[in-house]
Symmetry: C2
Subunit: 158 residues, 2 copies
């Protein structure tokens, strides 16, 4: 629980800092999201390198996705993804019914508009992780009812 | 090991971001250090709240310092402080012979000048933790040989 707390608190600080440091500038919400996403991307790149040091080679794309949903998610968020769906054409939807970085926000609709900034880092994290496993993707997130959320991964074919 | 990695990578990103976002501004090294320290302070405040939820009341100042050196340090850095010294007049020196956030830098003297930015967050973390336990302090850090480092805590009497 302690480790989680450390990550959560630091994550919150990062969000606040990025938003505050751009308050008086020309940058709007979108650029903050991009910065958080890029930060997540680089962290994801690094993490996957450590996590897969002693892992067997992955069979295919689906095998990679399963690794992200189980091992990767567990080490970062202390639980697995609850549901993984795919259309078998390069789109994957990862559903987390109790996403760790949203549980600190009220479960009502009151803060729904703030959800994107709590998801951007994680979108980047997934994109970075996949990227280091040779899978190029675009990752977006959506929330309908807090703290559940869905990450959509669109694989970019080379 | 995974949790540590997550914290370390995010910590690095934060340092880089803060330094980069102030590159083209009027802010110099000192202000970046202050920002990192303040960030650490707020994280320390929050962490101590979680960690001490089920802890017995502390006897005295020394008891608080021991808690920081053992429990707090272990949850954040996965090891205890190696040596705690005090002059019994409000100055404590916490020595970590292998400080986690410095082990990623080369052990030589080459990067010694970069050490302060890797220590600022932790100085704040300690100050914030102590503050939430009712001990007001000033915390500074010094490195002579990497990755060993000393944190000096000066208690501010009210």
């Amino acid at each position: 629980m302690a480790d989680e707390a450390l990550f959560q608190f630091l994550h919150n600080e990062v969000i606040q800092y990025i938003y505050k440091s751009t308050e008086h500038g020309e940058m709007e919400n979108g650029r903050c999201i991009t910065k958080l996403e890029n930060m997540g991307f680089r962290v994801g790149l690094g993490l996957i390198e450590r996590f897969t040091k002693d892992t067997a080679r992955f069979k295919d794309e689906l095998d990679v996705m399963k690794f992200i949903c189980k091992d990767f998610w567990t080490s970062v968020f202390k639980k697995q993804i609850d549901n993984l769906r795919t259309n078998h054409q390069g789109i994957y939807v990862l559903q987390d019914n109790k996403f760790r970085l949203l549980t600190q926000l009220s479960a009502g609709k009151q803060y729904l508009e703030h959800a994107p900034k709590y998801l951007a880092f994680t979108c980047g994290l997934v994109r970075g992780g996949l990227s280091n496993l040779g899978v190029k993707s675009i990752v977006t997130a959506e929330v309908s009812v807090m703290p559940a959320c869905k990450f959509q991964v669109m694989i970019q074919k080379m």
